[in-house]
Amino acid sequence: MKPLIGEHSLFGPVDPAAEAGYVDPPARKGFFTDTSVCIGCKACEVACKEWNEIPDDGFSLTGMSYDNTVSLSANTWRHVAFVEQPAAPAAATDGAGTVDLGMPGPPPPTSPEGAQATEELPDFRWLMSSDVCKHCTHAACLDVCPTGSLFRTEFGTVVVQPDICNGCGYCVPACPYGVIERRTGPEGAKNVGIAQKCTLCYDRIGDGQRPACAQACPTESIQYGDVDELRERAKARVEQLHEAGVMDARLYGADPDDGVGGAGAFFLLLDEPEVYGLPPDPVVTTRDLPHMFRRASAAAAALLVGAAVAFAGRRG
């Protein structure tokens, strides 16, 4: 008989749908987002909002390059980051010896000396990348959900059921990527107070359709399909880019042995994850639960034994 908690139930490589108890589930579905061909058109953001009836995220200019939706949030389930950076890493070091990660944000204050330098700038780079919920193999949001609102689908994805969610918010700090969030507005919007995030268009893929963002993407930067096949495709794409001399190309979230057991939605990046605002080495926040449980059990047992011994000793 299958044990209730398996060796990799909370950490390590595993097929999440089978682990969740589905018998003969369909192949795990996910996204491969190839940022090397992203043109920053934001069609994914718009298609996602149209399909999922997500309210707007407010109308304010941020000054963070062309990013005015800032980050993934309850009202932005696909988010395109824009990173303006000089390509030569040498130019990214300031006097203090710190490294400019090219994080989205206003450029450093301008000075006349800086102005002079711009005329001989090295090649400039503008990175664009469409971020989304990672649909982790080990999803902490799901692990901590007390109501069962968050659940694992037969496609291995993680979905919130808004009619079950009680808005406790445990999932929000549990996510190692900061993806999930409770909707706070605008006024009159549906699901206010409820945890919100990408469903990998559960209501489309069950019908044999592609998620809205992948369908809208004009350059196939967002590819939807079987995770196993996407991982192969992604590996081949990295090799192709390396051969073309793009040595910084790397995969993010594609490794089943990483801290979340591999993401269902993974990425091809052209720089360090931090540059795109992604955590470099995310770990499922519930990874240590079994360990903690064993420790706690041992301690409890020891206490019990100690107490028993104490009583026994007294009798003796």
């Binding site: 043109i39 303006e84 800086g114 005329e119 004009p218």
Partner: protein
């Protein structure tokens, strides 16, 4: 090569093919004033000063010619490189920036001296008069498609050694466009420039082709047509025309702009590029036809009579007969310039009573927004059909002029009729895209409420006007009453059948109703009719060919069964050039169309695409002397719409501003033309009026009052004048405010804070926006000094979820003489920190700049700046003015 285009941002769906090509190893180069999302995906980005593309491309031409990198076999056989020019031709190097034949009085050329040698004697001066008229009516647009009129056989020197052959003339013309000069004029380093030259030439020739992409970054200049000509010369020299993977892709501004040129919404042409009859030139039907077909000359326009008869039959049906010249006299006549900007000036002057706006928002989207709004405020009535209540419908109550008091809502006399329009998913019909491909759209949902299609609106408007006039006996009402206005209607709202319209456009036999399969079936006796001869075949066999959607993977790579492309479903124009003169592919890698001697009776043209050549005319065919029409085109002349069958490196007729592209500065420029004494396009069309002032440029004084160069364009997130994006929250939130992009250096110079406010001033307007300091804009070294470029998106106005000032308010109106397009991609300006003044104070600010620059004294710019007739006059500075005792 992508130049003058921000393809990734303005054409993201088409850009997928660029990404596909890149994945297969294509190198993508982007030449642009600003680092855009297109640059981000390109292999090489080359920043260039706005308005200097002819200098840059002329440099590439010079590199090709000096190093003999042209595809010589192609050039000799397929272009007019070998053709010898008249002895009278003088080039811009002889005349300091002018060609021979210039008349400073009218600022037009007599093209007599530009002709091929022995081209028969043309009467002196006649050509000049024609040019004057052609400039008024943008008739170069007709020449573009009607081709070169060549009679006889002009002498050629296939060795290309004759000093007056086109090749040598071209070589001399561009000999001064060296890498050093490109660096000095364009601000492009020699290293970067030579890298582009290397990449372009290495990827061209027998085995390889290079595609060139441009958009309105090239067209919207006072020398816009010549920009594209420069690209055409280069692509011809490198053998990239008519071949797979080559060509010049003109990306159109939005869906079906190509369609609205083919079946035009322009004043000077009719469907299928037939010219609008001119009251002074085309007194009879035959005059009109002969002006297109040029009896005795060569080429495919010989059949123009049949195309015209079929169009008139489509308009007037049974009423059009041979006896009444098929109702030719019912066609309206043009008498001069009736272009959109002339019309706006006439509106301001009170000469226009009513105006229709359909899917257009000139209050935001057209150059010189203030003139647009003041013009509309002086109409009797205005019809606006749009998806939302756009600025062109609200200018009378909410606009910058209301703020300044120039328009008073209570007094504005224009009656605005706002009609809700059906969107593209709420109606059926075709889009024609840049490849001339028609794709049918089916209606996805019913339009909401009172929203209706354009087809519905015009059909029923016509019906009601005709009903109103039914009893009229006035002669002037006959054209309306005799119209064939009978389309099948369906549905609750009596929607006319779009397929029936498509069938009429395609053409059919009048007696049987059988749809025509090809325009060669069109008769000039009235037995067939067809609304647009180039579209004939789109309804062949009674099947809507535009609705075909066979996936690419189920057919050849040319995908002939996806949609339908004019003419005759050809996907690659002039594809005869993909084979060598003997009819064999230039290379196996690049084969497309070739001569198969074993096919048919005596051999046929065949291949992956529909051959753009008479199917059975063998490569060895040579016309007899004195032959005209199509028979005069030899079997090895691929450019069949040209009178000599050759691609034109040198254009003896049809262009008003000269036979060869020449670098002129933009009308507003901080720099003197370093190549010639002639500063800017001498033949440009200008409206020299107090309400259309131009900022001074060298050699005039005070250009330093407007020290920076600005350019405007689009963002992916918004659609042109914003009518389809600012009113939708999902798009509006993505770019929620008007902003102005400046380099860190300019921000430092002018004290602009990232995220703060700035305002931009020209002699037309002052507008404000938030500051975006970015290294994507880069100061350039030009002619020994630094020039800053300011970039503005032009999407905002007073309506929608997100509002802001309109960048097009900054522009004046100066037009290309060939097609009357406005120079809206470049101007000069000043930039100041903080928000602009409010109310009337903004007019004072603009006025103070005009006073400092002398524009208030003379709003125009000197146009001829060379020779004894130069009209350069120094704008008087304020100090001198005081001494003069001016008020």
């Amino acid at each position: 090569m992508i130049q003058g285009s921000n393809m990734a941002e303005a054409h993201p769906v088409g850009f997928q093919w660029v990404m596909e090509a890149k994945a297969r190893g294509a190198k993508v180069i982007h030449v642009d004033p600003r680092f855009t999302r297109t640059s981000a995906l390109a292999d090489q980005f080359v920043p260039i000063r706005v308005g200097t593309d002819i200098a840059f491309l002329g440099g590439v031409i010079n590199h090709v010619l000096q190093n003999e990198l042209d595809f010589r076999e192609y050039v000799v056989a397929y272009t007019n490189a070998a053709t010898i020019l008249s002895e009278d031709f003088q080039d811009t190097d002889d005349l300091d920036g002018l060609f021979s034949g210039f008349d400073p009085e009218t600022r037009t050329y007599d093209p007599a001296s530009w002709q091929y040698a022995d081209a028969g004697q043309k009467q002196e001066g006649q050509g000049r008069q024609q040019h004057e008229e052609q400039r008024e009516t943008a008739s170069a647009l007709q020449h573009e498609t009607h081709g070169l009129n060549v009679e006889g056989d002009p002498p050629r020197d296939p060795t290309l050694q004759h000093p007056r052959c086109v090749y040598q003339v071209l070589k001399r013309h561009y000999s001064r466009y060296t890498p050093e000069l490109v660096e000095r004029v364009c601000g492009v380093s020699q290293e970067e420039f030579l890298e582009v030259c290397r990449a372009w030439t290495e990827a061209s020739g027998r085995e390889r082709t290079t595609a060139l992409v441009y958009s309105v970054g090239w067209t919207q200049h006072s020398v816009g047509v010549q920009y594209i000509r420069t690209g055409a010369i280069l692509q011809l020299l490198l053998g990239n025309m008519g071949r797979p993977g080559g060509g010049i892709m003109a990306l159109r501004g939005h869906a079906s702009i190509q369609g609205s040129t083919d079946i035009p919404t322009l004043f000077n042409i009719l469907p299928g590029y037939l010219p609008m009859p001119n009251a002074n030139q085309h007194e009879s039907f035959q005059d009109w036809i002969d002006s297109v077909r040029h009896p005795g000359s060569k080429g495919f326009w010989d059949n123009a009579g049949a195309y015209a008869v079929n169009l008139l039959k489509a308009y007037w049906g049974d009423a059009a007969t041979a006896d009444n010249d098929f109702c030719f006299d019912y066609l309206p006549r043009i008498t001069g310039d009736h272009g959109t900007y002339r019309t706006v000036m006439d509106m301001i002057d009170g000469k226009v009573k009513g105006y229709f706006l359909l899917g257009q928002n000139p209050a935001v989207g057209s150059a010189h927004g203030r003139a647009q709004r003041l013009g509309m405020a002086n109409l009797d009535w205005l019809v606006v059909r749009d998806l939302f209540e756009i600025e062109s419908a609200t200018f009378w109550k909410n606009s910058p002029e209301v703020e300044t008091g120039e328009i008073v809502p209570e007094e504005c006399r224009t009656e605005v009729f706002l009609f809700p329009a059906a969107s593209h998913v709420e109606k059926e019909g075709t889009f024609t895209q840049t490849q001339r491909m028609l794709q049918w759209r089916t209606k996805a949902v019913e339009p909401p409420g009172d929203a209706r299609s354009e087809l519905w609106f015009f059909y029923h408007l016509g019906r009601m006007v005709r009903e109103r006039l039914a009893d009229s006996t006035e002669e002037r009402d006959r054209p309306l009453l005799d119209l064939a206005w009978d389309y099948p209607l369906h549905g609750e709202h009596d929607e006319p059948s779009a397929e029936a319209v498509l069938k009429e456009i395609n053409g059919y036999e009048v007696a049987t109703g059988r749809p025509l399969s090809s325009f060669t079936e069109m008769k000039d006796d009235g037995s067939t009719l067809g609304g647009c001869w180039i579209y004939t075949g789109v309804y062949a066999d009674g099947v809507n060919q535009a609705a075909r959607r066979k996936p690419g993977r189920e057919q050849s790579y040319v995908a002939p069964e996806w949609g339908w492309a004019w003419p005759a479903n050809r996907r690659n124009l002039y594809n005869r050039a993909s084979a060598d003169p003997d009819g064999n592919p230039w290379s196996e890698r690049k084969r497309l169309v070739w001569w198969d001697p074993d096919k048919g009776e005596n051999g046929e043209w065949t291949g992956d695409d529909v051959p753009d050549f008479e199917r059975t005319k063998p490569p060895t065919y040579r016309p007899d002397e004195g032959q005209g029409g199509i028979a005069a085109i030899a079997g090895n002349d691929p450019f069949i719409m040209q009178g000599d069958g050759k691609g034109s490196l040198f254009v003896p007729q049809g262009l008003i501003d000269g036979p060869l592209p020449t670098h002129y500065e933009p009308v507003e420029s901080p720099f003197r033309n370093v190549l010639y004494g002639q500063q800017a396009n001498p033949t440009r069309k200008e409206y020299d009026r107090d309400d259309n002032p131009m900022n001074p440029s060298p050699p005039e004084l005070h250009s330093d009052v407007y020290p920076f160069v600005f350019t405007t364009s689009r963002l992916t997130e918004h659609h042109t004048a914003g009518g389809m994006s600012r009113y939708l929250q999902y798009l509006a939130e993505l770019q929620p405010e008007m902003f102005v992009e400046v380099s860190p250096a300019l921000a430092a110079e002018r004290g602009l804070q990232h995220g703060g406010w700035c305002h931009v001033v020209t002699s037309r307007a002052a507008i404000e926006g938030r500051v975006l300091v970015t290294e994507r804009l880069r100061p350039l070294r030009v002619d020994g000094r630094t020039v800053h470029t300011v970039w503005l998106p032009y999407h905002w106005g007073s309506g929608g979820f997100v509002t802001g000032d309109s960048a097009n308010d900054l522009l004046g109106i100066a037009l290309d003489p060939n097609v009357l397009i406005q120079e809206s991609k470049v101007g000069t300006c000043d930039v100041l920190p903080g928000r602009r003044p409010r109310g009337r104070a903004v007019l004072d600010l603009v006025a103070s700049y005009k006073e400092r620059s002398g524009v208030d004294v003379d709003p125009g710019t000197p146009i001829v700046t060379v020779g004894p007739d130069a009209d350069v006059h120094d704008h008087r500075d304020p100090v001198m003015r005081k001494e003069d005792g001016d008020p």
